[in-house]
């Protein structure tokens, strides 16, 4: 009697581990499709897209690239809105920065489970490896992910399955347990050896993870945003702007976002109607957004900082155009603020 081909949905980040996990299960004759979640905090693509200096680099979305290498479909799911609750109220807390890794993994596996159930898929695959990550990939937290996501024994981690109790796909014979792996720890050597075995020579090796929330400087800017607003909340535009420019808070009630180069200035242009903004006229220089309620003294200070980051930073006076929220322009002639008068504490 022939059995229907079993179907698995693989969480695909674009990195090597999830690529290998999907490949291992494909090799066992299972139909695999990928799923990739967009939280708004994904490093993938954004900074390269914005910064001019990166625009010569090849731009590829690694999750799409992995799917193409493996000959499988990829479904990219926008979870920006739902993800807010994960970040703002993580049941299991944060990692070293604002990264709620364990809650994030539980949430993503749960969303993959929902997708699997609504598309007639049998089980879920991740590239997790026991002991690889300090928060979400530990021997004691892996059962938590399976349990709290609701996936239970339909969650298979092919790269470390032999270190864990047999899951449904293994017990039912949909996959052969002895053809799965027992990787553990932070060493990447077993993964690299398996990649070589499959003939994968080109794969993403993201330094510092694929999420801005693991980044200390980004987390600091996010916390600052919440403190100043008096509430822990954000919109997509907020978290995009935290990725761009120099952020300075000269006074508690306003901050400046200073474009660092042409690509960032172009990106900030898209937000100019939402913010009072400044740009030097007499010299080339950055577009600067003011986030907050700035009074006349504040605007003058912002103009001096704008002048400081312009090509006229050693000129006695720089003309800075100030544009208000109605789009009305006026000019200020200001001396650039000397670097020594910009305290380190202003930089976020």
């Amino acid at each position: 009697m022939s059995h229907p081909q079993r179907k698995a949905v693989a969480l695909v980040s674009g990195g090597l581990d999830s690529m290998l996990a999907a490949k291992v299960i494909q090799e066992q004759g299972v139909h695999v499709e990928g799923i990739n979640f967009y939280t708004g905090f994904c490093v993938e693509g954004h900074t390269h897209a914005i910064r001019r200096k990166d625009q010569g680099k090849e731009k590829r979305n690694n999750a799409l690239w992995v799917a193409e290498q493996l000959g499988m479909k990829l479904h990219i799911v926008d979870i920006v809105e739902e993800y807010k609750d994960v970040l703002l109220n993580p049941k299991h807390g944060y990692g070293a920065n604002m990264n709620p890794c364990l809650d994030c993994k539980i949430f993503m596996v749960h969303k993959a489970l929902e997708w699997a159930d609504s598309h007639g898929f049998d089980f879920i695959i991740t590239g997790e490896v026991v002991g690889q990550r300090p928060m979400s990939q530990r021997k004691d937290t892996m059962p938590v992910v399976a349990r709290e996501s609701g996936a239970m024994d339909r969650l298979l981690r092919p790269l470390c399955a032999k270190n864990l109790p047999a899951t449904l796909p293994e017990r039912e014979g949909w996959v052969k347990r002895d053809e799965l792996f027992d990787f553990s720890g932070r060493s990447r050597k077993p993964q690299m050896a398996l990649a070589a075995q499959f003939g994968f020579t080109d794969y993403a090796t993201p330094a510092g993870g694929c999420c801005f929330l693991t980044d200390e400087a980004y987390s600091r800017k996010l916390v600052d945003l919440w403190q100043v607003r008096g509430k822990r909340a954000y919109e997509l535009d907020d978290i995009m702007l935290l990725k761009v420019g120099r952020h300075l808070r000269p006074r508690p009630h306003f901050k400046l976002i200073v474009g660092r180069e042409e690509g960032e200035n172009n990106f900030l242009e898209g937000y100019r109607k939402q913010f009072l903004h400044l740009r030097p006229i007499s010299h080339p220089g950055p577009l600067v957004l003011i986030d907050g309620a700035a009074n006349e003294d504040d605007i003058r200070l912002a103009a001096r900082i704008t002048a400081r980051y312009s090509k006229g930073n050693s000129a006695p006076l720089v003309t800075v155009q100030v544009t208000d929220l109605q789009g009305d322009n006026r000019m200020l002639e200001v001396p650039p603020l000397p670097p020594g008068e910009i305290p380190e504490a202003w930089y976020l």
Binding site: G45, H48, N61, L64, A67, V77
Partner: protein
């Protein structure tokens, strides 16, 4: 066959791909969708998404800082 347009300007990847994916899901096989983006990454990502999901890229071009990708929706759901 009908023609459709999607404005994905000022969105950074993968959002143009996600918007394309969601729009294509509402279209019928043979329909043509023109996606207009400002993120140059879309020039690689939307065709890659089309290749793995069975849709045909009819044309990609750059026009005045914009990237335009024209897609014919494939037969697969």
């Amino acid at each position: 066959m009908s023609r459709h347009q999607l404005d994905a300007r000022r969105l950074l990847c993968p959002l143009p791909v996600i918007r394309t994916q969601d729009k294509v899901a509402q279209l019928r096989p043979g329909d043509v969708l023109e996606v207009v983006c400002t993120d140059p990454g879309a020039l690689n990502d939307i065709p890659a998404w089309c290749r793995i999901n069975g849709h045909q890229v009819l044309e990609t071009r750059r026009e005045e800082g914009e990237v335009i990708v024209e897609i014919e929706v494939g037969d697969e759901p």
